[in-house]
Amino acid sequence: MTETDKTVADRQAGHHDAQWTRIIQPQRGLLSVPVAEIWAYRDLLLLLVRRDFVALYKQTVLGPIWFIIQPVMMTIVFTIVFGNIANISTDGVPHTVFYLAGITMWTFFADAFTKTSETFITNASIFGKVYFPRVIVPLSVVLSGLLKFAVQFTILIAFVAYFAATTEVVQPTWAVLLLPVLLLMMGTLGLSLGMIISALTTKYRDLRFLMQFGVQLLMYATPVIYPVSALPDTYRIYIMANPITPIVEAFRYAFVGRGDFDPMHLAYSGGVILVLLIAATVIFNQVEKNFMDTV
């Protein structure tokens, strides 16, 4: 074949390829995120969020009030067990508002994490029949969690307002402005960890058992029922290494006025989250294409 023949053939091949709107191939770039495709499916994202909301409370009497009952009950139990019986310090802040703040932020993370970690297993039947960008499902889970957070957050605000008016200790600070950043960090962290776990559970089901108690244990490694300031020095370093710690502490500092708030610590969290997000993208991309063969 002469040089000219080759270029002509190349050009023809190129021209031929260009007429196709989609090419399905064995592998895709590990870091590529199909942004345009996700955008095209944005209505599905919103409908899934809506479905989560509507379907969850159909045929229940109290409906979305359950969103509120859950953190309030937890706060009451924590106040009795950890506050009054075990007498764990809450940094001088009234027990109820201290725990409620921690629980509100923690549930947002825990929900995002546990529910995204079940993505592939619970949706196997849909994924087995229809293609849409798989990331849509974890994204919808985090968005649903955000809505739930919004509801629970109003309760927290009511408590904070009450205590701010009646006591000197509870004083919201300028850091409330950081709320969107904190939520973004928390959501991304839950999403990334959940995606990693969900991708791995398609092959190694053991991880599901780990998840069942892992999240609970993780809560005790996070300053939800205790403040960082009450930690003995030996444990402090480990608790501070947990990327969730600075977020919860900053959140508490913003709304209650007490907490370990340090931009450097938040930056550390941000770094860890970024690494996890990249890892999650790589693993998820790897699994997304072929997971139906192993589930």
Binding site: A55, V130, M292
Partner: protein, 429 residues
């Protein structure tokens, strides 16, 4: 050929057989190690051909091997093949549910699949909500769904119940609504698999009509997979036959069907106990099946209305309780005529360990003329134990029988019902 809508280029798909679990982590590590050193995948080399008639001895199997074909815009192409031949795998690759191991698929336009309709229907949501959700899952946006909403509802015939949760729907309504959504998709290529197995005859007719419309008027490309040769030949001028993971024939539908039938013939002459193209949990297996006449002679040809008896031997590895056996009767083009179920005439059966003998007699068979095939099905506690297609075949030849004065004509259809005419005038000798 018109402008191509789809081109499949040397596509292959490899599956790992058996349970994923023990050893898979070490396999993965081995693979990763091989990849790091730039060596080929150590497990890919030992793949065997996808041959379901004999037990695979390798860990990996090529479900599809070197598939090549092209479909033009607005074409409607049928795909036939036995269970496990690779049809579903091909459809999964086309609908991007799973990725090919090798090769490329080129697509022009939007593609949507109807692999069992009603995917993503949520039982607690109303018909209306599910139309939107299902439409979105299939790739439509809100405006597109809203624009076609009335059309969808009308086509489904569920207008009255559109604000009722779908869990209160009958299964027929469920399927109709689901098909209606999918049929109104704004896609260029539509993949349809076995939808028509459900729904009433009138709705099936409407679906076939709709698919034909999509192709001729809407210039949409349709890939249609079915076991029903009658609907394939009614709908598709061209068909592919898939055998053991490869395309064994690609051409005019009538010729494809002829070859498919011939292949079934070959399969039926092989011993049932050797066949592995079966589904179910395998706790029991059909190992022998014979058709005999009233004199207990093995025969494959019978006269119209003649009595026949099907004898089966089922081997159980352990006692099996609460069993129900069925023989499905199909005519030559794959249309189901009837089922013989044990629970219609007997209580549920308890199979013992070893060989169980079961037989079924049709005393006054209503078959008239043609080829009949039997599918076997065994369930225990509502779980499929063993199921296989085309386990036996019988040919019925025109003959005088009962009160008939002459033999029935060859084209009188597959069944012959007892009937009697009366006439108040005279008759010529």
């Amino acid at each position: 050929m018109s402008t191509p809508a789809l081109r499949v280029d040397n596509v292959s798909k490899m599956y790992r057989l058996g349970e994923v679990g023990t050893g898979s982590l070490s396999h993965d590590l081995n693979r990763a190690w091989a990849r790091l050193r730039g060596r080929p995948d150590p497990y890919a080399l030992i793949g065997a051909v996808n041959d379901r008639t004999s037990e695979g001895t390798r860990d990996f199997v090529w479900a599809l091997r070197d598939i090549n074909f092209e479909v033009g815009q607005g074409d409607i192409v049928g795909i036939i093949g036995r269970n496990g031949a690779g049809k579903s795998t091909l459809l999964k690759l086309l609908s991007r549910v799973t990725a090919p191991t090798e090769g490329k698929i080129f697509i022009n336009g939007r593609i949507a699949s109807l692999l069992e309709v009603g995917t993503g229907f949520h039982p607690d949501l109303t018909g209306r909500e599910n139309i939107f959700l299902n439409g979105a899952i299939l790739g439509m946006n809100k405006q597109e769904i809203r624009a076609r909403f009335d059309e969808i509802v009308e086509f489904s015939g569920c207008a009255k119940y559109i604000d009722t949760p779908v869990k209160r729907y009958s299964s027929g309504m469920h399927v109709r609504l689901a098909f209606a959504v999918a049929a109104h998709l704004e896609t260029d290529i539509l993949i349809v698999d076995e939808v028509l197995a459900v729904g009433d005859a009138e709705f099936q007719q409407r679906c076939l009509g709709k698919m034909k419309d999509l192709s001729t008027k809407g210039h949409r490309t349709v890939l249609f997979v079915s076991h029903n040769m009658a609907s394939i030949s009614a709908l598709c001028p061209r068909s592919l036959m898939i055998t053991k993971g490869g395309i064994s024939f690609d051409g005019v539908t009538s010729e494809t069907i002829r070859r498919y039938m011939k292949e079934s013939q070959v399969l039926m002459t092989s011993r049932v106990s050797d066949r592995s193209d079966r589904s179910g949990n395998g706790k029991a297996r059909l190992v022998k099946i014979q058709i005999k006449d009233s004199q207990s002679e093995i025969r494959s040809q019978f006269a119209t209305g003649e009595q026949f008896r099907i004898e089966m031997e089922i081997e159980c590895s352990a006692p099996l309780e609460n069993c129900n056996i069925a023989l499905g009767v199909y005519n030559g083009v794959g249309t189901k005529l009837t089922d013989f179920w044990t629970d219609l005439t007997l209580p549920r059966l308890n199979l013992h360990r070893g060989i169980n003998h079961v037989s079924c007699v049709s005393t006054s068979s209503n078959f008239s003329v043609g080829d009949f095939r039997f599918n076997f099905f065994l369930e225990s506690n509502n779980e499929v134990v063993d199921a296989m297609e085309d386990v036996a075949q019988a040919e019925f030849m025109a003959a005088r029988t009962g009160n008939l004065q002459i033999a029935p004509r060859d084209d009188c259809g597959p069944v012959l019902l007892d009937h009697e005419w009366t006439f108040n005038g005279g008759m010529s000798k």
